[in-house]
């Protein structure tokens, strides 16, 4: 048992080195931060503040949009990013971590050095999941920082969300990002090619979850099926933290069910990846 633990610990250290020195890891983190700070906060603020009267937006609408950006809403506002851009970035991170090993044919190095296949997978997951924690902090941190800037510009620094909401928002973000990261990792194992894994994941996220399920949302059957999809459950979990002033969406399922389904996906993606990795030949 201690030998297995030592093997796992050694593999984790190898994975940390690989991930820490890989430029794409930090580029993805930087994109997450810049997306929230520049596109979500700065751009929205500038557009709303400089909107010409002829744009047809009422004072009430403009006030609501600006309200989204104040510190009191930063957790809720950050969560709207997490289910869209956060999901995409986490999926790419997971796909890159696994499928690049096939592209570079380096998986055979890991598998022929000593650690078992499942140990290698477990160590990858053990390093990637904390990384999604860092990504979650970046999303929340960028939102908090940006809302602080907006709030100080507009004199709305008084109200901040309760600590429980911030902590809950962090864990919700972490869970959502972990699900999408593990989907990317699973697609990497399944398709054994980075481009295919990322393309398949993004097509699923954008076309299946984003378009098809949304377009036919009023259909009773689709609505019932949608309750088991990761994107729909992630969205439901974010809505459990309350509505943004500009939002009128209703959660499809309760927070408890959403968390259960998302945890289920975590286990399913890890389980199928382990099964495939253990059984399949390493031909590359």
């Amino acid at each position: 048992m201690s030998s297995l633990a030592a093997e796992f610990g050694a593999s984790v250290r190898a994975e940390v080195l690989k991930l820490r020195k890989r430029p794409s890891t930090w580029i993805i983190c930087l994109i997450a931060f810049l997306y929230v700070a520049l596109l979500d906060y700065l751009l929205t603020y500038v557009v709303v503040k400089t909107a010409p009267r002829r744009a047809g937006l009422s004072r009430g609408t403009l006030h609501t949009l600006i309200n989204n950006l104040y510190p009191i809403n930063f957790v809720r506002y950050s969560l709207t990013d997490v289910v869209v851009i956060g999901a995409a970035l986490a999926l790419i991170l997971g796909a890159l971590a696994m499928s690049s090993e096939y592209d570079w044919r380096t998986l055979r190095n890991a598998f022929s050095q000593g650690p078992g296949r499942l140990t290698v997978l477990a160590s990858k997951v053990a390093v990637l999941i904390p990384l999604t924690g860092i990504l979650s902090l970046l999303f929340l941190g960028a939102a908090a920082l940006s809302s602080l800037v907006v709030g100080s510009l507009d004199g709305h620094l008084g109200s901040w969300p309760a600590l429980s909401q911030v902590v809950g928002g962090f864990f919700a973000t972490w869970l959502i990002l972990s699900v999408w990261l593990l989907l990317g990792l699973f697609l990497g194992v399944l398709l054994r090619q980075t481009a295919m894994a990322i393309a398949a994941g993004l097509v699923y996220a954008i076309v299946v979850e984003g378009l098809i399920l949304s377009l036919f949302a009023s259909n009773g059957v689709i609505e019932a099926i949608k309750k088991i999809f990761p994107g729909a459950n992630a969205k439901a979990l974010t809505l459990a933290f309350g509505q943004l002033p500009s939002s009128s969406a209703t959660p499809l399922v309760g927070a408890g069910q959403a968390v259960a389904v998302l945890f289920g996906y975590v286990l399913v993606f890890i389980g199928i990846s382990a099964l495939l990795l253990r059984r399949r030949d390493v031909v590359g």
Binding site: A10, A14, R22, T106, R108, S112
Partner: protein, 306 residues
């Protein structure tokens, strides 16, 4: 196995790998490599050498048959801990330096980071250790692969075409390294299609073609038998005379010469008989065929290389 035979370090029995219904890559392969041997695994491209090596380290699962390496089934962590491997060309993370790539391997092998510098030094890569792997030449990549294989001080080396991309100096270095490794009791299985290299660095050789073992044995025994080559005039009369001495099966005419394939120890007698019959003998010599000729003859009999 007899009671006197040493325990095999690498042993396969009926090892078979089939990719789908149509491709039989390795066909009932029986190999036995004893401690302290540098064992050549020779065959043309597509003969099944790499597939066999991949099965020996557990990257591929055999369709049938079994294998044991260093006392363990292929892929078992305890066995892999004793095996240094380089399958096909050396591949590493392109964004990491040579040093960091070895550090990754060291961590997978549960070695101390201090194992990296000596490994870099063995293969002469210390000056380039800080450069990214993607900037390495083919020879440097190969040296890094060898460093990774040697770093854990293995008991068994499984090397696939290890001299690919190495310069002549590097090839000599590799040859010495393998001989030194075997002299210290290590066992190496080296696959190659470069017959000259195998001939110079190996004790025993297995020749494979289309996944099947054609011949196995010490290098010397696999060389084609020695033959006499005689240039004489008139050639027809010389051929008749030698046939009379040794039998028709022992003599053939090729490229304007007589080739005598048996009774090669009777050169003096043949020469005397030819001269005595008034045949002019301008050249008569005994030639030891190389492993390359044996290999080409064996593979040609089985349908030719490729």
């Amino acid at each position: 196995m007899t009671g006197d035979a040493p325990q095999a370090v690498i042993e396969t029995a009926g090892l078979t790998k089939r990719f789908g219904p149509g491709v039989l890559a390795v066909d009932r392969l029986d190999l036995r490599v004893e401690p302290g041997q540098v064992y050549g695994f020779l065959g043309p491209n597509g003969a099944g050498k790499t597939t066999t090596l991949r099965m020996l380290v557990g990257l591929l699962r055999p369709t049938a048959g079994s294998a044991m390496v260093a006392g363990h089934t292929p892929g078992a962590p305890a066995g892999l801990a004793q095996i240094g491997v380089m399958v096909e060309e050396a591949v590493f993370y392109p964004y990491l330096s040579g040093r960091d790539n070895l550090l990754v391997v060291a961590r997978y092998c549960r070695l101390k980071p201090s194992a990296v510098e000596p490994a870099l030094s063995w293969v002469g890569l210390q000056p380039a250790a800080k450069f990214k792997f993607k900037t390495y030449s083919t020879g440097m990549k190969q040296r890094l692969g060898l460093a990774a294989a040697l770093m854990k001080d293995p008991k068994v080396l499984l090397l696939d075409e290890p001299s690919n991309g190495l310069d002549p100096e590097g090839i000599v270095w590799l040859r010495q390294l393998l001989r030194g490794f075997a002299a210290k009791g290590g066992t190496a299985l080296v696959s190659s299609h470069l017959l000259g290299e195998i001939e110079q660095m190996c004790d025993r050789v297995a020749i494979v073609q289309s996944g099947r073992l054609l011949r196995e044995g010490p290098v010397a025994s696999l060389r084609a038998a020695a033959q006499l080559e005689i240039t004489a005039a008139p050639l027809d009369a010389a051929a008749r005379l030698v046939e009379g001495l040794l039998g028709a099966a022992a003599v053939r005419v090729a490229d304007g010469r007589l080739i005598v394939t048996s009774g090669t120890d009777r050169a003096a007698e043949i020469n005397r008989a030819l001269v005595g019959a008034g045949i002019e003998v301008s050249e008569l010599y005994r030639r030891q065929a190389s492993l390359e000729e044996s290999f080409l003859r064996l593979t040609a009999e089985e349908g030719g290389p490729g």
